[in-house]
Amino acid sequence: MKAFDYVRPASVAEALAAAARPGAAYLAAGTNLVDLMKGGVTRPDVLVDITRLPGLAGIEHRSDGSTRIGALVRNAVLAHDPTIATRYPALAEALLSGASGQLRNAATTAGNVLQRTRCQYFTDTASACNKRAPGTGCDAIGGVNRAHAVLGWSRHCIATHPSDFCVPLAALDAVVEIEGPGGPRSVPLEAFHRLPGDHPERETVLEPGELVVAVTLPPGADGFAAHSRYLKVRERTSYAFAVVSAAVALRMDGNRIAQARIALGSVALKPWRAREAESLLAGAAPTPETFAQAAQAALAEATPSGDNAYKIELARRIVVRALTLSAAGTPARVPALPASPFAASPFAATQSAASPSAGASTHV
């Protein structure tokens, strides 16, 4: 591994100053950055360890109804916070569906928001990648790309954003709080990650040296608590990135949907809000037909970027499923297999189970 300087600032101001050095990178848990350094994907000269910065590891439920999550709150701490799990259940479910217990114990809130793509051509330094080395091209195009983007991609980059956590954050209108040389500012999470366009190397709106200090859920984001789910299709039952995922949050008004929020994961280089689908659902009855229309609308703009057309249909189906499950109500507790189709009961209420023997259902 390349030799680097390691500094551990005592305050945010010191951190910002240290990060002004050329080749500096912020280090929190390192669950993503250290892997990339080992693979030579990133080669920072200075690591600014922010894990000891004061005041960034708290969860604050404020009197105005908002919740501020410090940048250094560990994924496991956040997911298991009883108030978070009650007010924002999809957030807890998304967190617990990601990575492994060990990684969740280490990984931080800001680190999750800032995690890099899993595109194999980004992590393979022998391949051309406009994100890793601007102007070299994109070997994912025309290559191995079953997992790549179907929305918002460009001819320069077809990668996806892999975060689970960011998907319900986007659905809940979360805001990213930033400190920087130019002072503090806030950016809606939905606008925080950039689509690739002509500059896939610019992954977020962060300016050089800026530091994410918190993620805030606005007042009212807990109004969806009774009807929200995160659902994630993956190629093994646990410890896998999503093929496609969806966060759905509904506010119900009797038998009608008062307000719907839908975000999709692993379909684009950012968590993808499906606003047209949300509009369709506002005031509608929660029927299979409505859900199918919403799913069509959510993926209306989707096009394959390679050998991945199946993801479009899969995304439609997961939207329908997440809507169905959300309408049925948030489960009392996060399922043992969070966000998994094997934890849900999509048809139990609507279809009669026909099993020829007890053996089919009792040996799980």
């Binding site: 591994m1 390349k2 030799a3 693979g39 030579g40 899993r118 194999q120 051509y121 992590t123 393979d124 022998a126 391949s127 070997d139 025309g142 290559g143 191995v144 079953r146 299709v233 993956r234 190629e235 093994r236 039952t237 646990s238 410890y239 896998a240 990135f241 093929v243 199946y310 249909e313 899969l314 189906r317 997961i318 329908v320 499923r321 297999l337 998994s340 189709p341 094997f342 849900a344 009961s345 999509p346 048809f347 139990a348 609507t350 279809q351 189970a353 026909a354 099993s355 020829p356 023997s357 053996g359 089919a360 259902s361 040996h363 799980v364």
Partner: protein
């Protein structure tokens, strides 16, 4: 026959691993845990291209990096005594050891950087920034010239059959023809290939993971031009071999060369992503099955053709068709293989090489035929039960497969399976499917030797250069030794994993316990005979005059067979003649006459239940019941563990594992354990392994068949069939991933 007579006092007992405490406390030291005085670290640089040559390495930049000691390249690497490309025996696989600047596959070693620290050597390797002259590559199955290999697998005939397949197909009342693809799988044992090497003149001490200490010693002696006795290989513990460590691989030898190059002890550990190339893999296959049957399901023809890949520079051919020579009684059988070359590392043995990939195709095809005939999958298998080995017509030395089918079916509840697909749902509405696959693996033996020493203090020592790669040799060889000597197992010391011990053969091909166990057994019998000779010739002994054959060993004593009351302890016999011990050697190998007369295979039946989300296609295996018959079971606890491991790999084969190569570059694009999926705990279902009793008087004196590879066969086919039963969709492209079920 009593249980004790049948199994022995130790054999057949479910002892926990003797090495367990050392492993869980970390006291067990694996190869890379050794740190000789003055140890330095070596890191391989590997090729980014799959074909061509290296034109430039920035050696100066690497050498200038603080802590870098030396850079070993084709320009300065020690010249070997003979070319690593020389195939002076069929198992001398060609190795890339910096003897030239050529590149034959991606991730091929192209240089080694030696540093004071791992970090320095790692950065040194990165600074080499190789430049290449690249040539176009081809890695696709069937691309380029397809030819018939001379042999397949470990030297088996490329084609074998019996009867007239065309006539059998013509006479059939139902036929299916289908092609099944299986994916390339790369060896990724938990412990990567490593070496800690130390030279003293022309003597080498080597800690390296190997499944065959003496084979490794022989290969190294040839390459370095030194006598085998100058080489001491130590491998007490092996963190998984599965075929990748049967023959020493290039990274291990590069560590030894690096130690010679810098004149210091060197440690080299293969990085995880470097496992995808130089240490072997199971090649992709496309298998075409043509089956014909009469209305009642009797096979009139079975044609199993395999197309696979090998490397451009060497030959190993995945023998997927072999199992069709032994498994089902068809009126006519044809098994053929074809291969094309690709710019890939040479494929190699991987757990049930041939049988694993072949089984999923054959078991799928048989179910497709059963569907045509509206037969239950179990029924069609019983209808074609081979009473004798189909092609050779030899009787089986033992075969309790019928009992496996029956016991597994009962335990699983198979009788209530609906014939048609998409008939079962669970309480959550998930599709449920049940499938069956037959497990089969040959009961082979290799050659090994062991030494047994009976000591005057009433204990004993068993020694053989066998290896424990997790299967339990530390435990079962002591059990076999204990019974052979008539001692409790806790009075038997065992030494294995050291090449200075008698040749223990190869822990591979499911032959380890059969071979080294037989050697141990024979050594104990010879040692007891030595001891008996001391007693029966001694007038002072109560055994005087009994003759060697007239005594038996039990509970640390020799007793007269005709009068067990007349006995004497081992200690008494040795003390009286003033000897500290007696020792004797024994050989383990198959009896050629029996092996000519009988077909020898282990069998099993695996029943699988899967659940599939009807809309999202996500698949989960929820239940596996395997019933296996493999002769005498030395340790049921460890054998179940082997079966579970095999069955889990069957889950991996069916649903997860597959290397993805970019056809343009030949690079493995998922060469890490985040993207190269194997099952995690949540993918491992409730499993049962039923040990079906099987007595085999022919396979070897102890009646032992191997169990290491049996469990992976049958399982993947059972899962593929269960997925069809759940969904009505027959996926012929393995692994079965959710995109293939979206419809």
């Amino acid at each position: 026959m009593s249980e004790r007579q049948r199994h022995g006092a130790s054999i057949g007992q479910p002892l926990t691993r003797r090495d367990g405490p050392d492993k869980v406390t970390g006291a067990a030291r694996y190869s890379a845990d050794f740190k000789p005085e003055g140890l330095v670290h070596a890191v391989m640089a590997v090729s980014a291209i799959a074909r061509g040559r290296v034109t430039h390495l920035d050696v100066a930049a690497a050498e200038a990096h603080p802590g870098v000691i030396a850079v070993m390249t084709p320009g300065n690497a020690p010249k070997l005594a003979k070319s690593p490309d020389l195939k002076d025996n069929p198992f001398a696989f060609r190795l890339d050891l910096l003897q030239n600047d050529g590149v034959r596959y991606a991730n091929q070693p192209i240089a080694v950087v030696i540093g004071q620290t791992l970090e320095a050597a790692t950065e040194g390797a990165a600074l080499l920034a190789p430049r290449y002259e690249a040539e176009p590559v081809s890695v696709a199955l069937g691309a380029g010239e397809v030819f018939t290999p001379e042999t397949i697998g470990a030297g088996s005939p490329t084609s074998e059959g019996s009867g007239d397949v065309a006539a059998g197909m013509a006479a059939a009342e139902a036929r299916i023809e289908a092609s099944y693809d299986t994916a390339a799988q790369y060896h990724n044992a938990l412990e990567p290939h490593s070496s800690v090497a130390q030279w003293d003149g022309d003597r080498l001490t080597l800690h390296t993971p190997t499944q065959a200490l003496w084979i490794a010693k022989g290969r190294l002696a040839g390459l370095f031009g030194i006598p085998p006795e100058n080489i001491h290989v130590i491998c007490h513990y092996l963190g998984g071999g599965f075929g990748s460590k049967g023959f020493i691989a290039a990274p291990q030898i590069l560590g030894i060369m690096a130690a010679k190059f810098v004149g210091r002890p060197v440690k080299l550990v293969t990085r995880r992503e470097q496992m995808f190339g130089p240490v072997g893999h199971r090649a992709a296959t496309r298998q075409t099955l043509k089956l014909g049957a009469t209305r009642d399901g009797t096979l009139t023809a079975l044609d199993h053709h395999t197309l696979t890949l090998t490397s451009r520079h060497d030959d190993f051919v995945e023998p997927s068709g072999i199992l069709s020579r032994h498994l089902y009684a068809a009126g006519a059988i044809s098994t053929t293989h074809a291969v094309s070359r690709a710019d890939i590392g040479t494929p190699i043995f991987m757990r049930a090489p041939g049988e694993a990939s072949g089984s999923v195709a054959v078991e799928s095809a048989l179910d497709e035929l059963a569907l045509e005939l509206d037969l239950d999958p179990l029924e069609i298998r019983l209808r074609n039960y081979a009473e004798v080995e189909p092609i050779t017509h030899r009787p089986f030395s033992s075969k309790a497969l019928r009992e496996c089918y029956a016991q597994g079916a009962t335990r699983f509840g198979w009788a209530s399976r609906p014939r048609q697909p998409r008939q079962m749902r669970d309480a959550d509405g998930l599709l449920v499917g049940w499938g069956l696959g037959t497990a089969t693996y040959p009961a082979g033996m290799m050659q090994g030797e062991a030494r047994a020493t009976i000591r005057a203090d009433g204990t004993a020592l068993i020694e053989t250069a066998a290896q424990d790669m997790g299967q339990g040799a530390w435990t079962v060889l002591a059990q076999i030794g204990a019974d052979g000597l008539g001692l409790p197992v806790d009075r038997v010391d065992l030494r294995i994993g050291d090449s200075n011990l008698p040749n223990g053969g190869l822990a591979g091909g499911s032959t380890g316990t059969a071979t080294s166990g037989t050697a141990v057994h024979n050594a104990t019998q010879a040692a007891i005979a030595e001891l008996a000779a001391l007693a029966v010739a001694d007038r002072a002994s109560p055994l005087y005059g009994a003759g060697n054959a007239g005594v038996t060993a039990a509970d640390g004593r020799l007793a007269r067979r005709d009068d067990p009351a007349r006995s004497e302890s081992f200690s008494e016999i040795l003390s009286r003649v003033g000897k500290a011990c007696v020792e004797a050697k024994g050989q383990g190998q198959g009896d050629p006459a029996s092996r000519k007369t009988y077909a020898m295979h282990a069998h099993g039946a695996v029943y699988a239940e899967v659940k599939v989300d009807p809309d999202l296609g996500q698949i989960r295996v929820t239940r596996l019941v395997g019933a296996f018959a493999a002769g005498r079971i030395v340790n049921p606890h460890l054998v179940r563990s082997q079966y579970y491991g095999g069955m889990i790999w069957g889950v991996s084969l069916a649903l997860h594992e597959h290397a993805v190569l970019d056809p343009r570059s030949g690079r493995v694009m998922n060469g890490n354990l985040a993207e190269y999926h194997i099952p995690v705990n949540a993918d491992v279902p409730s499993m049962e392994a039923i040990l079906v009793e099987e007595h085999d008087p022919h396979v070897n004196p102890l009646g032992i068949k191997g169990v290491g590879e049996l469990g992976i066969t049958g399982t993947a086919g059972a899962i593929a069939n269960a997925v069809w039963h759940a969904t009505g969709i027959r996926v012929r492209d393995i692994p079965i991933t959710l995109d293939k079920l979206l419809g």
